[in-house]
């Protein structure tokens, strides 16, 4: 890794610094050929603009399972577009409590939480061997300045994080355990479907404990709920592989009044 790094620019070195366990892959990114283009930052750009956008990508990086892409308090220098793999982001309280704040998959952008303070507030850890495009933020800003059409994409990107968090707040603040899990499964399903995968059968990349942390529950509760939903014939679970048998019923669970039953 060290010898590879020697050839690359300052940005790349910075990126490597913030992600000590990641390895450099190659400078050239080809959004043109990337299946995730329309889900990613260059979405909607004209072909020639996409070509220009590629120059913003300082490099690609591999991150191995369990390795950090960035850690809490790391200097914020870039956001990361996931090419392959999945990540979790989590906050750590001083006392060691961990709260998983997000689950990210291909085509999604990670790391925008660092913009406001200049340091990342969350850590991002790969849930499987993954690959990301490194997008130095100052280059993104520059590109946005040169191409106003893209500038709006960038605002939208950050704002999408706000929406995601708000959905999560709604889930955590007003749903019961079963509803939370059902909502989470449907959310995963929709995102897999948008990526061309099956919207009914997929692999969970998180452990029960991680799912629990994300949904504000305990791992035993998740385990019990999986068993229960399976018993009801709504899903089929086998370790980490899940099959949704009755999405309509899951949606009904999410929608039903959690309180003030009427």
């Amino acid at each position: 890794m060290g010898s590879t790094i020697a050839f690359v620019s300052a940005e790349i070195r910075t990126a490597a610094f913030t992600a000590p366990f990641a390895s450099y892959v190659g400078a050239a990114a080809h959004c043109e050929w990337c299946g995730l283009r329309e889900l990613c930052l260059p979405a909607g750009l004209a072909p020639h603009a996409v070509r220009l956008f590629e120059r913003v990508i300082s490099n690609r990086m591999r991150v191995k399972r369990r390795d950090s892409l960035y850690r809490p308090d790391d200097l914020f220098t870039a956001v990361y577009a996931i090419r392959v793999g999945t990540f979790k982001t989590s906050m750590l309280a001083e006392d060691g409590r961990e709260q998983i704040t997000g689950y990210f998959m291909g085509g999604e952008i990670l790391g925008a939480d660092g913009i406001s303070h200049g340091h990342h507030r969350c850590g991002a850890v790969a849930l499987e061997d993954s690959e990301v495009c490194v997008l130095p933020f100052h280059l993104l800003e520059k590109f946005a300045h040169e191409l106003p059409a893209f500038g709006h994409n960038l605002y939208r990107l950050i704002s999408k994080d706000v929406c995601r968090s708000q959905d999560m707040m709604f889930l955590l603040g007003s749903m019961r355990a079963e509803q939370r899990l059902a909502a989470h499964l449907l959310n995963l399903a929709a995102r897999y479907r948008a990526r061309g995968y099956s919207g009914t059968e997929f692999m969970l990349r998180m452990t029960r404990e991680e799912i629990a942390s994300m949904l504000g529950l305990k791992l035993e509760t998740i385990s019990r709920l999986f068993s229960h939903l399976q018993g009801e014939g709504l899903i089929q679970v086998q370790g980490r592989s899940v099959k949704l048998l009755d999405s309509a019923a899951l949606r009904w669970i999410v929608g039903k009044q959690s309180q003030f039953e009427s």
Copy 2:
């Protein structure tokens, strides 16, 4: 109100449309004299830049208690800087469940949740008679383009919402009732202090029910917790007026392990 509107520009009419109960106040905003300048969007700008920034503010608007600044699904045209007063933002599920997602006070910016979809996802309601500066988003983008130093402020602004939401997710996902309330009180205290008010004695602008909704609890629980914290001598409550008697103890409550007691 109608006759006033007749004189104003398209932006203002748009703003008035999204906020049907708000009334137009005056076109000229004077950030220069505004006590909240350093907490608001023009924070850190040079005096002449602040002068330029004022042109972005299409107008000021009064919003009466209980009136909406914007509602869910309203077209997103502007963000709003609070000059006077306080607001709550809330999401509504189809089934009528309401989840309060935010509490905003002077100098804070509201409405960034609309950027990504072009429509607001939350509604914003004034908790007391309030006044906001209307900042049409396309003008903000234009200004950011002309003054890159400000551009960064704008990214930071949106990203701050992300941080706020993440803090909330942490609170909702991993704290017990007492910790949530203590954290909320300390959060309010810090924000009042930053505005030059007392950091130990302040008025709650939300009902018990609203506080409960925001913290993912029920109003009775909030009421009981207030009584309990008062009994312990940590706070003094009298309806909506609160006095923090022992902030250190409150901080201890927030910090103590909620689970895995060690």
